[in-house]
Assembly symmetry: C2
Homo-oligomer: 230 residues x 2
Amino acid sequence: MKIKLEVPNAVLRRLPRYYCEINEMSNNGVVRTSSEILATRMGLAASQVRQDLSYFGEFGLKGYGYNIYELKRGLGRIIGVYRPSILIVVGVGHLGHALLQNFNFYQEGFLIDAAFDVSAEIVGTKVNEIDVLSLDALDDYCRENHPTVAVLTVPRSVAQETADRLVAQGVRGLWNFTGVALRLPDSVFVENVRFSDSLLMLRYRITKHDEDLRRQQLRMQEQRRKESLK
Amino acid sequence: MKIKLEVPNAVLRRLPRYYCEINEMSNNGVVRTSSEILATRMGLAASQVRQDLSYFGEFGLKGYGYNIYELKRGLGRIIGVYRPSILIVVGVGHLGHALLQNFNFYQEGFLIDAAFDVSAEIVGTKVNEIDVLSLDALDDYCRENHPTVAVLTVPRSVAQETADRLVAQGVRGLWNFTGVALRLPDSVFVENVRFSDSLLMLRYRITKHDEDLRRQQLRMQEQRRKESLK
């Protein structure tokens, strides 16, 4: 299956969301779905879902809908989850720990067997079967295992230098949780995880709702006032 | 300042990103910026930035650009960060702990003085000056303090029941880190934090890059083969 060349960026950004939803349905034993069901789950129009998926391949049959297994395999192949490459976690504070404990890296196409930290208390322990190694061992580990992606969960103050060191060791992608805008060569892929965005969106939606309510109340007061003057 | 009524959803989704970027610039002492600079930071076209910001108010002057202070105040007011409301964190495992320790809730328009957990080891302690209370005390706390938003960092298995309990106590927004698709009344605002999306995007970008490279190599081999046949 080949991905068409010119997929708009907005559609591409939705690719992981589609994969997650379909994966979850698949895990729940669903075998068949429709653009309407997917649309509801994604918060999109059904026509948008059909258009989006058509960019990624010949999925779906009129009157049948989508076969979950085919869709999962097709999108998974485009994303590359069936060719797992090696990932490491750098920084095992609370956030790194939470990711090691709860996140299913394998499902996203990554193998992990090591995490790195500087704290003597945690180096030498295991979290969820994964060895926590000393940061001193990072370069040796990279030379031997060639990790493709590093999860960056170190403190802000050492984010840039740690990223530089990882890139020098051949790491090609960074999943950056530090909140620092890293300066890196163009050849390195970075995804910045920004928690703030969604909390600000929540804040905005509540503010907007309150204001709409207040405006409505003012309009009703005004109307009552006018009526009482009649 | 009034927000125009029909802001497209895609523009609205970028509002928090704009606010974060501008806030960071402001924290770094920047007083003036341009649509070009913002565009680079946001990964957008400068024309898109000008159009986006025009939805939110009369920002920017031709030949001057944008005054950071005005932009921050204007967008902040629309989001509602200057009318802080109360937020609580429910679930102080590693992830809850990481958020309490590192996240600047006040900057996003929220006041926090309490977090909740069931573990006897952590109840009664403080994380970053914030009291960790027993989950048994949740209902009393809500009746007295009327929190607007709850950060949900409990285990998946109790996500729905905890959300139901929070909603019954009048919480109006949930920042959901549990990965569970919560079933809640329409009147409750939910923002689901999905780590996976950005890691899958990273996976995809690396896969795509490798495939492009491989195709290019095949093309070059083919060309060399043809040339050698001449």
